[in-house]
Symmetry: C2
Subunit: 192 residues, 2 copies
């Protein structure tokens, strides 16, 4: 409860992970240190305060798994409210600002999106693809207009950005094909 704090990348990662399986702060640190999710911070000074604030907001709840010890292992799980908040985040529309400022966070959303079902996954990818194509077109225009006015390195750096977004678009198209393939082969399988 209380006022809604912004859902940072770290908070989203925590919500997503404990939505798949209840975890302690230490477990979360381990995931961040050892898996490809390692792009997303770690350090006790970040995770424990984040868990506290998520609990204060009533999105997660921690229960000690051994009552007798002085410092019990606190295992956190999503509350009903936390579940709703996570769903709201996963169902949010893809914007250009997401591409430019929050690509990592957006992909993190995708990584946890399976719980929303195949239809939502495909909708997300289509939205992403639309925004990507539009943004690539925009950058190509900028590229044309600035070529000759910039340094060689400036132009190459811009081209690197464009190529990156193009690769992302290719990936999105492939992911859509793959996901559409699964539904045809396995016949409308529901999630979880």
């Amino acid at each position: 409860m209380s006022d809604p704090p912004t859902l940072t990348t770290l908070r989203l990662a925590i919500l997503g992970l404990i939505s798949m399986q209840p975890m302690s702060g230490y477990d979360l640190r381990k995931v961040f240190e050892t898996t490809p999710m390692g792009n997303f911070s770690s350090s006790p000074g970040a995770i424990y305060p984040a868990l506290k604030s998520l609990e204060k907001n009533g999105w997660v709840h921690g229960v000690p798994d051994k009552q007798d010890t002085l410092r019990p292992r606190l295992v956190y799980s999503l509350t009903d409210r936390g579940d709703e908040v996570l769903n709201g985040e996963l169902d949010a529309t893809v914007t250009r600002d997401d591409l430019i400022w929050r690509y990592d966070q957006m992909m993190l959303r995708f990584a946890f999106m399976e719980r929303r079902g195949l239809a939502r996954l495909l909708a997300f990818l289509e939205e992403l693809l639309t925004e990507l194509d539009a943004y690539v077109a925009h950058l190509e225009e900028v590229h044309e207009q600035t070529t000759g006015q910039t340094t060689v390195c400036g132009r190459l750096a811009l081209e690197q950005g464009i190529e990156g977004y193009r690769a992302n678009a290719r990936w999105a198209r492939r992911a859509i094909r793959e996901l559409e393939g699964t539904v045809e082969c396995e016949g409308g399988e529901e999630n979880e």
Copy 2:
């Protein structure tokens, strides 16, 4: 002078920009708002304090271009020390941590690197390419080992990352070819 502060993305962007042309804080904001450099912040609350601290460190120096007015336009340029600091940053080796944690900042370095000469540019791209190839190989291994143990979305998200780094590697190869091409055509042209 005084203790060395970490060269954040914003500070690097400021140093790089005023190394090409002396600018006021307002000019910098304009660049960040209107060019593809816009990925790098803006807001007065960031830029003016950053300029102050850079000046306190003796890396830049601001001179009012109209002495009579109460609030003159302060035009900043690099000091000799600032020039050295920027060169040091541009000449730094590319590490895997740069790929994972500071890709944007690394590309920003590249965007300002022309002043270091063609040899340095090529060296940077070779280093980058080596790190990229190694990291892609590592991620492919992770991909193989985790496939089947992850959700479909988790796997796809990882594949997106791999494809992104592959695209960056392709870009680096192309940039090397292009830069090697210029030197052959134009015959060992020196920078500035």
